[in-house]
């Protein structure tokens, strides 16, 4: 009978505690692998919040700041880009498409983005996914709005629901009650900040502000909707511009052109580079999560050691029988190490299956609910290294009860003396 079979039979004999130990290890392994999967997916999702856009242009600012307000709608721009500069950029031969964005208003905590219909054609995420409408259509009328999936879910809006835009992004801003919008379309969930935005046309942003002066509405102006519709609603400025180039090879040169633009101070960023930089800033939380998962695995291994140690007293007779039949103390120690390794291996395999079973079952829901693109694919070399590391750690953890068993079996010999 091999040592492995002996260890297996002995564990089977104590199947209750053995199963609990395997379960603990399985849970901790599942947690570690699950966190790893989510970490990777979160990083991938984050890095692909925006794709297909070669440059983002805004007023002179840090690249992370520009990324935050233009893509993540966090914070505000320090300045705008004049419409003349926007047109100058749009006219450049390198530019294939350009989408202006005007930020500054909100609706019940959700940012309002003034843009053009081109936004829905050119904004891409997760490599090459384009925005798609789950219902309705892209704005057609001046006071049409296209809302993200989160906005629709949270506020229970459907196509046709009225929307009152608030001036400013704070919770106490004054409303544009006199210029209500109508939900024209609802976007499918993307897992990006687009889900939390209300999109209106650039002209609409101008329209709701025609009777505003110095940040407040001038009631006396009382401009009718008909008059507004007849006005030239070309904006004086925009907050940021998404730019697609004819060739990506031109990105750096075009970036330099923007950064050295003489008419006004502008900044152009490469979204991928800025996203990586931003991730490195917020990656501390991600690393903390990984450390916690490792600690959970460590705790499970400590549990394994204490279970094996606790079983030693009741197994002294088993050890004595083995000793009487020729087993040397090293065999006894080897048996304990084998048991520890077997439990860890079973736990690691169970944890692995738990994660992948969970992924198969929950991926559609996680994708739908949180917009995280969890991919079910073959385990990566890194994951296999983690699993191998845990199993090796299990064997190493077995050294502690093995040493104790070695000492006990030396002292007890073939008879158990209490």
């Amino acid at each position: 009978m091999s040592l492995i079979r002996l260890a297996f039979l002995s564990l089977l004999n104590r199947r209750g505690t053995a199963l609990l130990t395997v379960f603990c290890i399985a849970l901790s392994v599942a947690l570690l692998l699950g966190v790893e999967k989510i970490r990777n997916s979160a990083r991938t999702s984050f890095a692909s919040t925006i794709s297909g856009t070669d440059l983002i242009v805004g007023a002179r600012a840090g690249d992370v700041q520009l990324l935050l307000y233009s893509v993540f709608r966090i914070g505000d721009a320090t300045n705008n880009i004049t419409w003349e500069s926007y047109q100058e950029i749009a006219k450049r031969s390198e530019v294939e498409w350009i989408v202006p964005m005007s930020l500054g208003d909100s609706h019940r905590g959700y940012r309002v983005v003034g843009t053009t219909a081109g936004f829905f054609d050119h904004y891409q995420y997760r490599k090459d996914r384009s925005l798609r409408l789950s219902s309705g259509a892209v704005f057609d009328d001046l006071f049409d709005a296209v809302i993200g999936a989160d906005v629709a879910d949270a506020l229970n809006y459907q196509v046709g629901s009225p929307i009152i835009v608030t001036h400013g992004t704070g919770p106490t801003g004054s409303g544009h009650e006199n210029r209500p919008f109508r939900v024209a379309g609802i976007l499918e969930r993307t897992g990006t900040p687009v889900d939390k935005a209300v999109h209106v046309s650039l002209e609409a942003i101008k329209a709701v502000h025609v009777d505003w002066r110095s940040g407040a509405r001038v009631e006396a102006l009382d401009i009718s909707e008909e008059r507004i519709r007849a006005m030239d609603l070309t904006p004086e400025s925009v907050t940021a511009v998404l730019v697609g180039l004819k060739s990506r090879l031109q990105a750096f040169r075009f970036q330099r052109f923007i950064n050295e633009y003489e008419e006004e101070p502008l900044t152009a960023i490469l979204p991928g580079v800025a996203l990586t930089r931003l991730w490195s800033l917020i990656g501390v939380a991600e690393r903390a999560l990984a450390v916690i998962s490792i600690m959970v695995v460590f705790t499970a291994l400590v549990g394994l050691v204490s279970t094996l140690l606790a079983s030693l007293q009741e197994r002294r007779r088993e050890m004595a029988i083995l000793r009487a039949n020729g087993a040397r103390p090293l065999h006894i120690a080897g048996l304990l190490i084998t048991e520890s390794g077997l439990l860890t291996l079973l736990g690691a395999v169970a944890g692995f299956m738990l994660v992948y079973g969970g992924l198969i079952g929950l991926t559609p829901w996680i994708n739908e609910r949180y917009g995280l693109s969890l991919e079910i694919e073959y385990p990566s070399a890194y994951e296999m290294t983690i699993l191998a590391g845990i199993v090796i750690a299990g064997f190493i953890a077995g050294l502690i009860p093995a040493w104790k068993a070695y000492r006990t079996s030396l002292a007890d010999g073939m008879t158990v003396r209490s």
Binding site: L9, I321, R328
Partner: protein, 234 residues
């Protein structure tokens, strides 16, 4: 009693002294030997030191003085690992009870010594072990049963088979019949002695039951070869 033929000694003890450090129980053995194939019954009162003597012979306990020769080796001079190896190769051991790994089958229990003893080799071990079990009176359908599910009598047959597998030169039996009823004990002893004769191993058995004496070449009262005292523990 049968006449003991002239044979080589397999065990020789001379002037061995041992003291249990925790209780102060001391055992001094003057002179004791066992020849190849010889069957000896060691009798004595409870607590007289019979089990201690067996542990000294098997090398589980180390004497503070004297020599114990097993074959041509003085085991008191052996390193721990060499002693373990010698014990695995040389001795088959039967305890009073709680002998077996309850979670392993009868057959797997019998095969256990072959796993650890380098020189105890048997051709077709599973078949040999099963045949040995059946010769010792274990029903055929119990051969693959878990040891924990067997009766006490059946368990002792498995323990005897395990002690005999691979032809050790000495079998040590520590009151193997004490947990059995009279008839089962008699049957067990008959079968054990048959197998001992077949294997040609020496047998040293400890028992209170002097009625078993007929199965042995000689009966050795412990007090004829050893003296036990209780020393004060510091």
């Amino acid at each position: 009693m049968s006449d003991a033929p002239a044979r080589d000694p397999v065990l020789q003890i001379e002037n061995v002294g041992f003291v249990w450090p925790d209780t102060g129980f001391a055992l001094d053995v003057t002179d004791f030997g066992l020849k190849a194939g010889e069957r000896a019954l060691l009798v004595g009162e409870s607590g007289a030191g019979k089990s201690t003597l067996l542990s000294l012979i098997c090398g589980v306990l180390r004497p503070s003085s004297g020599s114990i020769r097993v074959g041509d080796k003085d085991i008191t001079a052996l390193r721990s690992s060499a002693l373990d190896r010698l014990r695995a190769d040389t001795f088959g051991i039967i305890f009073q009870m709680f002998n077996l790994l309850p979670f392993a089958s009868a057959l797997e229990n019998v095969l256990l010594p072959l796993r650890f003893a380098p020189t105890r080799r048997v051709e077709a071990p599973r078949e040999a072990a099963a045949n040995l079990l059946i010769r010792l009176g274990l029903p055929e359908d119990a051969v693959h049963a878990k040891a924990g599910t067997l009766s006490v009598g059946q368990q002792q047959r498995v323990a005897a088979a395990r002690a005999l597998i691979g032809s050790p030169s000495i079998v040590i039996a520590d009151e193997p019949t004490s947990a059995l009823d009279k008839d089962t004990a008699a049957e067990f002893m008959t079968l054990l002695i048959q197998e001992m004769t077949r294997s040609k191993a020496a047998l040293l058995m400890v028992s209170h039951d002097e009625r078993l004496a007929g199965h042995f070449d000689r009966v050795i009262p412990l007090d004829s070869i050893a003296r036990s005292t209780r020393k004060s523990v510091a």
